[in-house]
């Protein structure tokens, strides 16, 4: 049996933090389901954006941190645009993803690749200031073991010069490194 | 005499006639003040008006022992007009005396220069005297001389006589010494920036239309005040309002102030208390200025007569500038039948409210 006034009390602080980060107010949500209905990836999610809002409203926000949905969300903002209660739904999903990472929650296996790609992407930018696409794809293959994925696509793109072999390093690389460190200091984040 | 323009007194049901017929300036013109026969022609005109019964009284000026300060005189018979005079020392605005003649049986003639004539028109627009009861004898004013400036130019010596030329003035002192100074240096302050020296409405006019002197000096002073911080402006006006002795000369000389029972004289409601603290001084000055805004003809008599020299023109002209910017209305007293813009409205008015 869920003791609601307890969970609401306990979860209030977390919900307020998410409200602050997403710059919105989840208590306005009247559970109409437009966000889930319009979400292109809801069918692949374990709990839809509407249910995530409900969890946060009832203080069970922590549960959302363990869900696959916050990693599947493509931040396409369809939900935010159509929400009749003007809630930044995509912002909430993004804030939950950041909180999950910051609080070190285990990421469900099925969506772990999203985290791997994000780390590879940010690592590549940190090193050379721009994305080294080939390095990214190889990094994904190494870290996920799917060596033959899209191999058919790779060769023609190479031939058409769409995949440069060397990363394009910018002069201001030190600046980018400094930005990463500064952000880390300010956010005290666990990268 | 020109046929008097019939102005309907307030008729039952329609208090303000839709459009008073604005009198065109008549073709009959007398000689200009500078002209030697000017004074004779003026006296003849007044004498014949009285003699032929067109008017029963004429308000003009008369000689006094102090030749720099002629006095206001009320001529009732043709003979008296012998010592009627008009020279460049006729600063006093005589139009307000018409208020004493509201119930006078008969017509009244007034000898008025540009600013005085606007006062007469404003009194007519304020329904205080009907247009057909006033014979306006207008004079295109070359600019009035400030006696104080002449005396300071003459230094210690007593001034016995002054002969005003077109652009210079000859001062003759008791000891017989003579000195010539440029006209501009002795003109009354307001005449230095007078844009409308010619009577806008008159039955007969003496002299040709004068250009007047364009100077934005007062508006520059206002702009400078507007640039100050509110604390500086507060200090500026405190310093001036402090000196006000509440003699009410500014109110008593103003053609737009025609109330018989002024708010400042009322006990109930107790608008203005007697004590001369900064609150009451502010209340008096601000209320007086706001009451006449939209009807002030810009004659600046108030500024001239203020015994303690408070720059009232800086207040009146500021209000006039804002009224003109906001409502684009004509200068009060220049057109018959025009009411104050503050008793009208327009859907497209500017809006300073949120």
């Amino acid at each position: 049996m869920l003791n609601l006034q307890a969970t609401i009390g306990a979860g209030r602080e977390f919900t307020d933090e998410i409200n602050h980060e997403a710059g919105t107010d989840i208590n306005r949500c009247y559970q109409c389901g437009t966000c889930s209905g319009g979400c292109p990836l809801f069918y692949a999610m374990d709990i839809g954006p509407r249910q995530v809002m409900r969890l946060l409203q009832t203080g069970l926000g922590e549960e959302a941190l363990r869900a696959r949905s916050i990693w599947i969300c493509a931040t396409c903002d369809t939900c935010t645009v159509r929400c009749p209660r003007e809630i930044n739904v995509a912002g909430v999903m993004e804030a939950l993803r950041i909180q999950a990472r910051r609080r070190g929650y285990r990421i469900p296996a099925a969506v772990r690749k999203v985290r791997i790609l994000t780390d590879l992407f940010l690592g590549s930018v940190r090193r050379s200031g721009r994305i080294f696409e080939l390095g990214l794809v190889q990094g994904m293959k190494m870290r996920t073991g799917e060596l033959l994925k899209d191999v058919g696509m790779g060769i023609p793109m190479l031939l058409k010069g769409k995949l440069s072999l060397r990363p394009h390093r910018i002069r201001g690389r030190a600046e980018i490194e400094r930005i990463y460190r500064k952000v880390q200091e300010m956010e005290g984040g666990s990268r | 005499m020109s046929e008097a323009i019939k102005t309907a007194a307030p008729v039952e049901g329609e208090p303000m006639p839709a459009e008073l017929k604005t009198a065109e300036i008549p073709t009959r013109r007398g000689p200009a003040p500078g002209d030697p026969e000017f004074l004779g022609a003026l006296r003849d005109c007044c004498r014949s008006l009285l003699a032929e019964g067109h008017v029963q009284r004429i308000i003009a000026y008369r000689e006094t022992p102090d030749s720099l300060r002629p006095e206001v005189a009320f001529f009732a018979s043709p003979e008296e007009t012998g010592d009627l005079v008009w020279d460049l020392f006729c600063n006093t605005n005589i139009c307000k005396y018409l208020l004493d003649y509201r119930t006078f049986e008969g017509r009244i003639g007034v000898v008025v220069k540009g600013c005085d004539a606007r006062g007469v028109v404003q009194l007519i627009n304020d329904m205080q005297i009907p247009r057909d009861k006033v014979e306006i004898i207008g004079i295109c004013c070359p600019g009035q001389i400030d006696p104080a400036k002449v005396e300071s130019a003459a230094g210690e010596a007593w001034v016995s006589r002054v002969v005003a030329g077109p652009d210079s003035v000859e001062i003759v002192t008791e000891e017989g010494t003579e000195m010539r100074v440029p006209l501009e240096s002795v003109l009354t302050d307001r005449c230095l920036s007078c844009r409308k020296p010619n009577p806008p409405v008159a039955d007969v006019v003496f002299g040709e239309d004068q250009k007047g002197r364009i100077s934005d000096e007062v508006f520059e002073q206002i702009a400078e005040l507007e640039r100050m911080s509110s604390a500086e402006r507060d200090a500026f006006w405190n310093r001036h309002f402090e000196r006000c002795i509440r003699c009410f000369a500014c109110r008593n000389v103003c053609p737009a102030c025609s109330c018989t029972k002024c708010v400042f004289d009322q006990q109930e409601p107790d608008w203005l208390a007697g004590e001369r603290n900064q609150a009451n001084q502010h209340f008096f000055q601000i209320t007086r200025a706001v009451h006449v805004s939209g009807r002030c003809t810009g004659c600046e008599e108030c500024d001239r007569v203020c015994p303690v020299g408070i720059p009232l023109r800086l207040m009146n002209k500021k209000l006039w500038k804002d009224v003109k910017d906001l409502f684009d209305s004509p200068l009060p007293g220049t057109k018959l039948g025009v009411r104050s813009p503050l008793v009208m409205w327009d859907p497209k008015d500017a809006d300073s409210f949120e």
Partner: protein
């Protein structure tokens, strides 16, 4: 008129043809593009989904450089336009954030720079009449479906290029280029490109839905202004067709490529050879190349 050009990482790699056609079309239309010196990546979705500050700081560096150049920024790539515009708007709204970002990127940023997608530059600064006047091969008979995707039009307030539900600006440009535009319902339905490497089977479903609707409305090709959408719709088209047990050959082109053809630019220079679904047969059939 002169603009600071921000190509973005994709236009230097997989979306090479978008870069070439953008530069060529801009020259033809008199838009002077000066590449932002030493620009860096805008962080795409990875930055703002990992750290709010990083998501603003990375684009802010480029905005600061553009501000030094004193030029508004033209960003053809929808993702870069979204991130640059989001950074600008967030810093406009939150004075404290602007101060912290200035500290992070160690550069002055006063927020005087506007960010425009290339389509907006063509529409508002060049004008459709100028495009019509310089047509050489109007795209007569070519039925196109304009696909806007999500980043370029959503959310309102962060990007204000066009209506988030029913955008029409790309349609207007391509109609000015003589093409026939199809009115269809999935113009702004998300194609899931950010999951192309991490959730490929999801992409296939989403791509399938979009292409099915476009084909049903009689479109012969898809026109877009987003390298993510182009890559996703192009590369996943075959898998989507097999999964839906139907076949549709809808070449996915950048609007600058087709605009280039309409403006008479040589086909060879527009990178028409670098698509998975080859557009050249269709274009030859229409007599455009």
């Amino acid at each position: 008129m002169k603009l600071a050009y921000y190509p973005g990482c994709s236009l230097c790699g997989t979306a090479r043809e978008y870069n070439i056609s953008t530069i060529k079309v801009s020259e033809k239309l008199g838009i002077e593009l000066e590449e932002i010196p030493d620009w860096s990546c805008c962080g795409a979705t990875s930055a703002h989904t990992s750290s709010p500050l990083l998501g603003v700081a990375l684009p802010a560096r480029n905005l600061a450089i553009a501000e030094e150049m004193g030029l508004d920024v033209a960003a053809p790539c929808a993702a870069c336009y979204h991130n640059l515009s989001a950074a600008r708007v967030k810093m406009d709204r939150d004075h404290l954030l602007r101060k912290r970002i200035e500290e992070i990127i160690d550069r002055k940023y006063r927020g005087k720079v506007k960010v425009l997608p290339l389509a907006e530059v063509i529409l508002s600064r060049v004008g459709l009449d100028a495009v019509r006047d310089s047509l050489v091969h109007p795209l007569a008979g070519l039925k196109m479906a304009a696909y806007y995707g999500c980043l370029m039009v959503r959310p309102k307030g962060i990007v204000d290029f066009d209506d988030p539900e029913n955008p029409t600006k790309l349609d207007q440009i391509m109609e000015a280029a003589g093409g026939e535009m199809v009115d269809w319902s999935h113009k702004t339905e998300c194609c899931g490109a950010s999951l192309s490497l991490t959730g490929t089977e999801l992409c296939v479903d989403l791509v399938g839905r979009i292409l099915e609707r476009a084909a049903e409305e009689g479109a012969e090709c898809i026109v877009t202004a987003c390298p993510f959408c182009q890559a996703n719709l192009d590369m996943r088209q075959a898998e989507a067709a097999t999964k839906l047990k139907t076949d549709f050959r809808l070449p996915v082109l950048y609007f600058t490529q087709l605009l280039g053809i309409a403006l008479g630019l040589p086909a060879g220079e527009l990178g028409l050879d670098s698509h998975v679904v080859d557009p050249r047969p269709l274009l030859r059939e229409k007599g455009l190349i």
